[in-house]
């Protein structure tokens, strides 16, 4: 029995250590955080430039702005908030709220003919 218990404890320790190492392997260095912040700043500058440059095709303006907004949103959520490498339950808790909001308010806006106008 004691051998079994010892083996169990050892296995637990190994599993914990592997999980510990696995989570730490996803940790981002401070230097990389600065690079991500610079990327976000560049995207913001591109957004502003797209609206200020009169030669930018007007049909592409809104899709381009929405795309850059979405990229910035998911970069912050994934890397600054560490959701990319976090537990599935945390992802579910946040994304269910986000998806619910997008679906619900898309229906509301459609009902009020927002997209038609």
């Amino acid at each position: 029995m004691s051998i079994d218990n010892d083996t169990h404890t050892d296995t637990d320790d190994v599993v914990s250590q592997v999980e510990h190492d696995d989570l730490h392997s996803h940790e981002i260095s401070d230097k990389n955080y600065v690079i991500i912040a610079l990327l976000l700043a560049v995207l913001t500058a591109m957004e502003v430039a797209a609206t200020e440059i009169s030669s930018f095709p007007s049909s592409l303006l809104v899709p381009a702005l929405l795309l850059m907004m979405a990229v910035k949103f998911f970069v912050v959520v994934s890397y600054f908030m560490h959701l990319k490498h976090d537990a599935a339950l945390f992802k579910f808790g946040f994304y269910i709220g986000l998806a619910g909001a997008v679906v619900l308010y898309s229906v509301v806006l459609t009902t009020f003919h927002f997209f038609v106008n």
């Binding site: 914990s16 999980e19 510990h20 190492d21 989570l23 730490h24 940790e27 401070d30 955080y33 600065v34 991500i36 912040a37 976000l40 700043a41 913001t44 500058a45 957004e47 502003v48 797209a50 609206t51 200020e52 303006l61 809104v62 702005l65 929405l66 850059m68 907004m69 910035k72 949103f73 912050v76 959520v77 600054f80 908030m81 537990a87 339950l89 945390f90 808790g93 946040f94 994304y95 269910i96 709220g97 986000l98 619910g100 909001a101 997008v102 619900l104 308010y105 509301v108 806006l109 009020f112 927002f114």
Partner: protein
């Protein structure tokens, strides 16, 4: 009646049972928590709260989108926006997310001085953003855009005002945490406490990313 005191047999203090999810002050970063899910209950609650906040801000943003052109003869968004100024305040808030993540990183390294420094810088940047928003509101009011001037103005002030209140609450939490860390009054896992406030702060930032594009940049 004689006063007789019955001596109670000395009973040992019952051992406190540590409830699930309670943190014992040890560093559990990357290790399973003692909860039914094996995850931190505090963190789960924070993510669920942020998920519900998506619904709150989704409602406010949708209302603004519906009413953005309903200003009648009153002043409208195209005559008001000062994009270079709002871009500068957006940049400040974006950089506050960087300083916040550096605070979390310092907390995980147990660098308390660095944690307090980055948290203070984050609060200052948040304060700067808020000052910019107050200035912007003042300018708009002087231009003739009151809260009840039009449906556009009401929905605009409600949306950006709600966001501003979230920033203000975040600043209060940041400064309180700095004070509590300085006095050693943070119980439990310090890194996790810093991370929770960080999650809230980053969320305030992502909401502004959406507001900045949908309200200020996309033409009405």
């Amino acid at each position: 009646m004689s006063d007789t005191t019955i001596e109670q047999p000395a009973t040992p203090e019952p051992e406190m049972e540590i409830p699930a999810g309670y943190d014992d002050g040890q560093d559990h970063i990357g290790l399973p928590h003692h909860t039914t899910t094996g995850l931190s209950n505090t963190k789960l609650a924070m993510w669920l709260f942020l998920g519900s906040e998506c619904l709150l801000f989704g409602g406010l943003i949708s209302t603004y989108m519906l009413y953005r052109n309903r200003q009648g003869d009153a002043i409208g968004p195209d005559q008001l926006w000062d994009i270079p100024f709002t871009s500068a305040t957006s940049f400040i808030l974006l950089m506050s997310s960087l300083t916040m993540v550096l605070a979390v990183s310092a907390a995980k390294r147990k660098d308390e001085r660095g944690t307090r420094l980055w948290l203070t810088v984050t609060a200052l940047l948040g304060g700067l953003f808020l000052a910019g928003q107050v200035y912007e509101f003042t300018v708009f009011y002087r231009e003739g855009l009151g809260y009840t001037t039009s449906l556009f103005s009401s929905s605009f002030y409600t949306l950006t005002g709600f966001h501003g209140v979230h920033v203000a609450v975040g600043i209060i939490m940041l400064l309180s945490l700095v004070g509590m860390l300085a006095k050693g009054r943070v119980l439990g896992d310090k890194a996790e406490t810093v991370e929770m406030i960080g999650l809230y702060w980053h969320f305030v930032d992502v909401v502004w990313i959406v507001i900045f594009t949908l309200v200020y940049l996309i033409p009405a």
